[in-house]
Symmetry: C2
Subunit: 351 residues, 2 copies
Amino acid sequence: MRSKKTDSGTAAGQGELAILLEIRRRTARASQSGLRLGIGDDCALLAPRPGEELAVTTDLSIAGRHFRLDWHSPEAIGHRALARGLSDLAAMGARPVAAFLSLGLPRPLTLAHGRKPAWVGRFLDGLLALAAAHKTPLAGGDLAESPLAVADIVLVGAVPCGRALLRSGARPGHLLYVTGALGGAAAGLACLAELAGKQKPAQTQSPLPQPPAIPKKLAALLVPHLYPQPRNAQGLWLQRRGLASAALDLSDGLSTDLTHLCQESGVAAEVDSAALPQHSGATLAQALHGGEDYELLFTAPAAARLPRSIAGVPVTRIGRILRPRPGQPQITLLTAQGPQPLQPHGWEHFS
Amino acid sequence: MRSKKTDSGTAAGQGELAILLEIRRRTARASQSGLRLGIGDDCALLAPRPGEELAVTTDLSIAGRHFRLDWHSPEAIGHRALARGLSDLAAMGARPVAAFLSLGLPRPLTLAHGRKPAWVGRFLDGLLALAAAHKTPLAGGDLAESPLAVADIVLVGAVPCGRALLRSGARPGHLLYVTGALGGAAAGLACLAELAGKQKPAQTQSPLPQPPAIPKKLAALLVPHLYPQPRNAQGLWLQRRGLASAALDLSDGLSTDLTHLCQESGVAAEVDSAALPQHSGATLAQALHGGEDYELLFTAPAAARLPRSIAGVPVTRIGRILRPRPGQPQITLLTAQGPQPLQPHGWEHFS
């Protein structure tokens, strides 16, 4: 996290340096996670423990694409940006060491409006609250003015050498599991879109777009979309026990992410629709194809004894891994009407 | 580097997956630098050598802010994005281990136009050529459609524990050095701005903005701006010899970056204007305040014997470190007209 100028007008101003100073004040310079040197130099320094390798992931969040200023509160946008990165570490079974944030913001989002705090401060509230819950220090990044709000989050984790959970380890006969419930984020997003559609135009045309007020009775339905909980404790548990043969996180939806797993492992799979842990309020289609649940999808040999829950989150067996069958669909969905091919219905940019 | 969908239409299409496949084809999955697992899983895996710690830096490049599509060729934009990150590793004396790229692009930049390759392919040409020259594998990242072109580059390097060059180690009496010449990037930028200003409007209004043609006689003047060379060999040399007491890279300009060094070390400094290695074609103001030269600024005890050049790049003594003097300017410029305060004239976003 570097400033572009160092002269006067720091604390009082709303410049880059003021934001930097706020971030620096709110983040530790070193921590037990392995962060040796945080914000303030050209690089941060991380010290893995002997015998560990490092897992690195980046996730880009762009206004209008991954979030909307007129739909999402700044706290939720900050939370969601970090959750995406933490979830990638969870999928590898890596413990978080440090997070980095590259942030490009339009000027109005950096200014306080009267007594209201600046958008960027509330964004950091959301991001740093989740970081604290996962004992993950914000160790650096970059900051720039931008016509469009963009946030690239980088997570660095550590895992004992050779023990990371990969996508490529699933073998025919292994069983297929998910943590938690599926489709909750997609159901919450649909609800949020409806609320936003009912807003008066005046609200959406203010200089700083305002997300819709959320009626109390709908709050619980929106939580899986606005504040998804990455499954780091569960990923770490699986890695330490050595029970999972392959894993990834459900960011693009079960049908798409299971296809990834099958492709990297060179296998096929079948999913039992009756076994799917549908989130309350979610449709079967949302459970099959909805993205951003950030649950873990993993496989384990049939002989492995999996508990019913890991660190308080249910674990459900939803299918099994098959030998690849040339000319046959990679994934089969078992339904009351018989087996059906399950095509990936996630989305691809630029297509 | 993760895709959002995995179904058909891959190689032929211009979708995210096609770009991903091109990147994957053009990058190593593992390397001697310490990259164990590259593109294709939730995270990349890096294995530092025993006794090493890791240096991490992120640099955000935004269209209209850090580059212009109607000024810079895609190759130069790719080169410059990576150079910023490599230069941060150079400043710490860390060897590059891997680079990560989060890329948001408008759809037209991902499409081939007739027989002309897509903008994104040429961007990767520039980025990967510099990566190859520094034996730095592109190990992952993220990809998204975006109304605005943004590229966040993440560099991970390795350095023996406790040996990184920091900004905070300068002490009164130490001498101040720079590598290479100063002001070349600012002079090149001024020249490029002039060329771009002479373009016909038709050229700048095409769907894909075209940078100006560069006359042969001006090419050399533009190189320091378009293709800066980060000083990784020099930073590594200084770290291994243990000669430098503090270092950083000149990204914001000497006056601003020396202020950073003085603040982090709690010292003052004086610079001898007659000693400054001005780049040919650069003014004194450009040498003092121009950014993006990506030379190294470092200090060493007076007893240290520095060579005249390191790995083929000249090293010049430009001043010395002083005790902080309350009420006095932090940096003094010695000129033929006597000493003058040197204020940081870099720039701050959002101010």
